[in-house]
Amino acid sequence: MENERIATVMDHLFRHESGKIVSVLTKIVGPSNIELAEDVVQDSMTDALEQWSYKGVPDNPAGWLYKVAKFKALNILRKENSHRKYQIETGHLINSTLESSVDIEEFFSDEEIADDQLRMMFTCCHPSISSDSQIALTLKTLCGFSAKEIANAFLTNEDNINKRLFRARKVIRENKVSFEVPVGTALEPRLQTVLDTIYLLFNEGYNATEGSLSIRWELCEEAVRLAMLLGASELVQDKNEIWALLALMLLNASRFNARVDKADALVDMANQDRSLWDKQMIDAGLAYLDRSIATGNVSSYQINAAISAHHCTASSESTTNWENILKLYDNLAAMDPSPLVLLNRAVALSKTNGPQKGVDALITLQKEAVLMGYPYYHAVLGEFYLELKQEKKALVCFKKALKLVANNKEKRHLENKVAYCKSVI
């Protein structure tokens, strides 16, 4: 019983509580001093570990952490008041806190915590910060990832991540980025950046084919959690895009475990064991999609979610409603005629009008330099040629794709294709 309680309480406690406390403290010390907030939280976590290793885990571990973090923060602020090591720009907050005309407890109410996490999201995803750095800072501050964990997730080294974090904090300081959720007409474009960053974060976890599976899954979970925080907030009124993004992420995430087989090889969607798709997640995704459609405006997240929904609800590749999917890609291409969208559209087109149409569509995309350097383009074209029994052409495509992929799983996948072509030529 006791152990179960601890397991439940502990689930993500450190990650998520640290995100909450960093957000609240950042409001108090100002976004220029995010690092100060991060340090205080890190320190509190270490203290918790030490105390709990001897005293056991308290009944309310989160409350325990708040208390310790508050105390530490107040101590530093009192010292800073005389030393001014950190430039503290939200003077009124700090001074009133120090004079205790404002009870610091008020900063840690559930509502304030939720709002501060949102403010933190908008701060980390400020358009003046590069998207690499946005993601790194979001993971560090809101999701409680260490630089090392972020490095693992991005298959890079810790130094690199620390540089990104450093740049992000610098931009925040230099641009005097404020700690608030924008209001009025400023909100929409800023919300778009936040959502795009969340989706990038999700895709980092979802699309990587190497690296620890648990970390990649956590990235997906964190992306969903952040989107849900946005969805639950009253600071954002128009939630259409948030629901659409949540739908898209949940529907895609439902297939997470079916994409690799027992031998650790990649499995195309056509060949996936659909019983491995997470039914509950699909239902949740569909519910969000309904909500998003009910609220109005069409967005690219919504169309992508609808496409994903078609896949998720089909019993097999052949019974998939490709006509509708093609229409959805047409709509998407009308909004965003990017080479990637057109590439995916070509796949749907080949399903409805035959592989030759797919080939034709892809040939017209040859002028797109981005696609020429994208292994998936050549692999898809190769698949079309295979269906047309033109193995020689297919072989050329798979070889091109093979040259472009870096990771081993994809390499093996393509090598099998190359070997197959050679065996039938």
Binding site: L13, M45, L49, Y54, G144, E149
Partner: protein, 138 residues
Amino acid sequence: MSYPCTLGLLMGKQQIKPSVMKEFMLLVKTEGDHFASMSAETQQAHVAKVGTYIGNLMEKGQLKGAQPLELEGTMVQGTKGSFKDGPYSESKEVIVGYFHILAQDLQEAVAIAKANPLFEETEASIEVRPVKVLEGIN
């Protein structure tokens, strides 16, 4: 004078049989601060293990007391009139905490020490010492 206190009464727990349990001090030693370098993920996993570990000891009424100790501090060493100066840096290992526990015998106390999740995270040593009892007095 009151009745000789049995350990069972002292601990206020019913499950354990009084009088057979002995007291032990487990002195935990590590080289430096091992918690600070853990990632949030490992920290969390560690806390879950530690919670279970301490929870079990408490449930069985085997934990009399435990404290972490600060890494700083100093050693008072020498004899009256000729104390040596300076911190005790001769040994790399520092006592970072103690557990005051109850166990049937040395063997069980050692098992409890070995089960400490600390060993999963870092190189450490735990000195297991029975608390000396004088029959008829303690």
